[in-house]
Amino acid sequence: MTDYGHDLRFGSFITPANAAPQQVVAVTQAAEEAGLDLATFQDHPYQPRFLDTWTLLSYVAARTERIHLSGNVLNLPLRPPAVLARAAASLDLLSGGRFELGLGAGGFWDAIAAMGGRRLSPGQAVDALSEAIDVIRGVWDADNREPLRVHGTYYQVDGAKRGPAPAHPVGIWLGAYKPRMLRLIGRKADGWLPTLAYLDSLRDIADGNAVIDEAAAGAGRDPRAIRRQLNVGGQFRTASSDRLLAGPPEQWAEQLAALALEYGVADFMLASDDPQALAVFGEQVAPAVRELVAAERAR
């Protein structure tokens, strides 16, 4: 039960369906209008019904002004890390420091292989992700005059020039559930981004935090360097209920405040393509959670 004291951020988790491309853009703009801090998109480059997430991120960056953008999470196996690092830095520069790098090890290996990607075991994929983070941070380290060399098992970079540096410190957030990934987060990442629906219970958050904190400490890092994040879904209803996130905005606020204070979660991404739900989340829930959490922290 830890509160890491992070400022709270509220975001959206928007489906990048390509059937009506401009609708996705409109929902993203609605998220910005609702005052949300983040618009995030899943990335399944083998899914023909989705817009390519990278292209979408670039496009919505040009069509929004304030909101931060991220993959939730980008599919590393189909996005070579050295190029990804420069692409991320470029988008951060173009958008005025509004890009964050949500990254995943990949999971649907048949589909990845069908796209020409390399099939890895889950364990190998974690190691590959670890190497990729080294590549990415190495590319961003523009002040370093030494050519970048990463001699990994999965990724090799041999004397690449470094840069550009992003406009702001781009957070590397990992979508993760299992201990190996959690330990990697503790060692190298800036955020832990699981989806509530994939957790067995809230205990998983507390347990995951403990693993991350221990790995961070082991790597000489402050556990507070890692943001705890959560993709959430739910329904806004007039009547309150005893279920998580199924009720009026006030009930949502109380439940999310509890997640922040007791489980350390600081970034909440609402999975919804409904502008009205995003408006309720941004305009009613977010301020109420902030107020509850600030009051509790001040005590």
């Binding site: 369906a17 059937a19 009506a20 609708q23």
Partner: protein, 540 residues
């Protein structure tokens, strides 16, 4: 593709070459290699574009010469805005010179479709004669976009050509072209037509989807101008911020063009009439290509006909509507046990006819599922934001049979007109639909309807209330004549169902249909195969 010009000729859509440091001979050899590569692969060399990247500064003479060699795309390599501006300044002159040279040499301008695409062309259509204004957006069977435009909502289609004009002038061009082609023509706005005439097999479709603007002309008189390609869900959302709505259908994907030329029996029909009753003027293109504006004073006969039989008269390119002020509405979905189908239907008819005009209801029957009672679903709108009034109005409807489920919400109009499903229409096959207008749901009609339903002949049998404001408009005022009906009945079946053949009697209509010309049969205009002359309210 740069480099290997021969490879570009064989497989690519363009050959891109940087001219800096390239000798003219090498450049010409490259162009020739593209041609040879294309011919080797059985392609027309014109399928392959030629792109040249040149270092500045350049002159109009240089550009004209390169265009003459076959470079259709000329790109300046520079990071200097002044050089870009100077280059752009040359463009009009270069275009004019090239156009003149081509005209003199008799060169046809346009993109040549690949041999693979040309192989899928349909007979009877002169593809080379498609007007330049429409050629770029035209879609033919071999094109990648074809899957997205071939079908409409309910039916599959295989047109030989889909033209997609963006302006009235382009509609005129399209009609001029189509007049010379000896194939069927379909006109499509939203593609929700029930008849299937908005797609076809081997013919041409003029798709008006791009004429979809929604524009307020006058706040005081609530006058709005709407293109035929707009969808009613979009219209509902665009008018809502003004506190207005136009009664349309029950589904937001339906197009403005088809509905506003036919009738438009919607969730506010008894209170606000048909959609066509809100049309104040139209702009349309007639078969001879003339553009006319019709309203009560200009071309009044045409204006009469376009409201009910518009599709037989021309292509409407813009509608002017007078919207209504509409606030929150009560919207109910009731599910009732319809074991006593005839009894329920008759009670429904009586309750609806007795209800004040602020109530409009749709009742849908499906065939009973095995082991379960037949159910009726009612969707009813009450034009009131007062919960007590809403409940008062709905109670009699809820009492017509055993109530299994109910849901009532207070919602603005867009809340009941869903947005269209995104993406192309995926209709398949040839579903059959018949509709007719019914004065009263008499016991005989109700019993016939029950027998019809139990025979399994239809999977969707709907009874919408009309009457009320619909009947305020005199029958002779518009081409939608059957104003005295209280109900519109629609039945759908799978392809080929015997009862849907032309001339078959509407079940039990002897006691109540109001088809103006043939009171005991399905109104002629509602056949799926005939033209909808004076089609009284048929859902097309």
């Amino acid at each position: 593709m740069s480099g290997a010009p021969d490879l570009a000729g064989r497989v690519a859509d363009g050959w891109s070459v940087a001219l800096t440091g390239l000798a003219p001979d090498a450049r010409r050899a490259g162009l020739a290699a593209v041609d040879d590569g294309a011919r080797t692969a059985g392609r027309d060399p014109r399928e392959v574009h030629r792109l040249a990247t040149i270092g500045g500064p350049v002159s109009a003479d240089t550009l004209e010469a390169l265009a003459g060699e076959g470079f259709g795309v000329l790109v300046l390599a520079t990071a200097d805005p002044d050089e870009v501006r100077a280059f752009a300044g040359l463009v009009p002159e270069v275009r004019a010179r090239v156009a003149a040279a081509r005209a003199q040499a008799g060169v046809r301008v346009g993109t040549v479709r690949s041999a693979a695409v040309r192989a899928r062309r349909r007979p009877g259509i002169d593809y080379d004669a498609i007007p330049a204004s429409l050629a770029d957006r035209a879609v033919e069977p071999g094109d990648a976009q074809y899957g997205g435009v071939r079908s409409n909502y309910l039916r599959g289609g295989s047109p030989g050509l889909v033209l997609r004009p963006r302006t009235t002038a382009e509609v005129v061009d399209a009609l001029a072209y189509v007049r010379g082609q000896d194939v069927p023509l379909g006109v499509r706005s939203g593609g929700h037509g029930v008849s299937g005439r908005s797609t076809n097999d081997g013919g041409i479709v003029i798709d008006l989807g791009a004429l979809n603007s929604i524009e307020v002309l006058d706040e005081a008189t609530r006058r709005v101008r709407i293109g035929p390609g707009a969808r009613w869900g979009e219209v509902a959302r665009a008018l809502h911020p003004h506190g207005w709505a136009i009664t349309s259908g029950d589904y937001g994907g339906v197009g403005v063009g088809g509905l506003a030329t036919a009738g438009g029996i919607g969730f506010m029909a008894r209170e606000h009439g048909l959609t066509i009753d809100h049309v104040r003027a139209v702009e349309m293109v007639l078969a001879d290509g003339s553009v006319v504006h019709a309203d009560e004073t200009r071309h009044p006969d045409l204006f009469w006909g376009v409201r009910g039989a518009g599709s037989a008269l021309g292509i409407v390119t813009a509608f002017e509507f007078e919207a209504d002020e509409v606030g929150l509405l009560g919207f109910a979905q009731l599910t009732l046990d319809a074991s006593d189908t005839a009894g329920l239907l008759q009670a429904y008819g009586e309750v609806v006819e007795a209800a004040p005009r602020d109530v409009t209801a749709f009742l849908i029957l499906g065939p009973p599922r095995r082991g379960q009672p037949a159910v009726a679903r009612i969707m009813a709108t009450v034009d009131s934001d007062d919960p007590d009034t809403i409940i008062d109005r709905l109670q009699p409807l809820a009492d017509i049979g055993p109530l299994l489920d109910q849901q009532v919400v207070l919602t603005p109009y867009p809340g009941i007109i869903a947005l269209p499903d995104p993406g192309p229409h995926q209709g398949q096959g040839e579903p059959a639909t018949r509709s007719g207008l019914v004065e009263h749901i008499t016991p005989e009609f109700a019993q016939a309807a029950e027998r019809f339903l139990r025979s399994g002949a239809t999977y969707f049998f709907q009874f919408r209330s009309v009457g009320g404001a619909v009947a305020d408009v005199p029958p002779e005022a518009t081409a939608y004549a059957s104003r005295s009906a209280n109900f519109s009945a629609v039945a759908s079946a799978a392809a080929g169902a015997a009862w849907t053949r032309r001339g078959t009697r509407w079940p039990g209509t002897s006691a109540g249909s109001t088809g103006a010309s043939r009171p005991t049969a399905v109104p002629a205009g509602c056949s799926t195969r005939t033209r909808p002359r004076r089609c009284g309210g048929c859902a097309r």
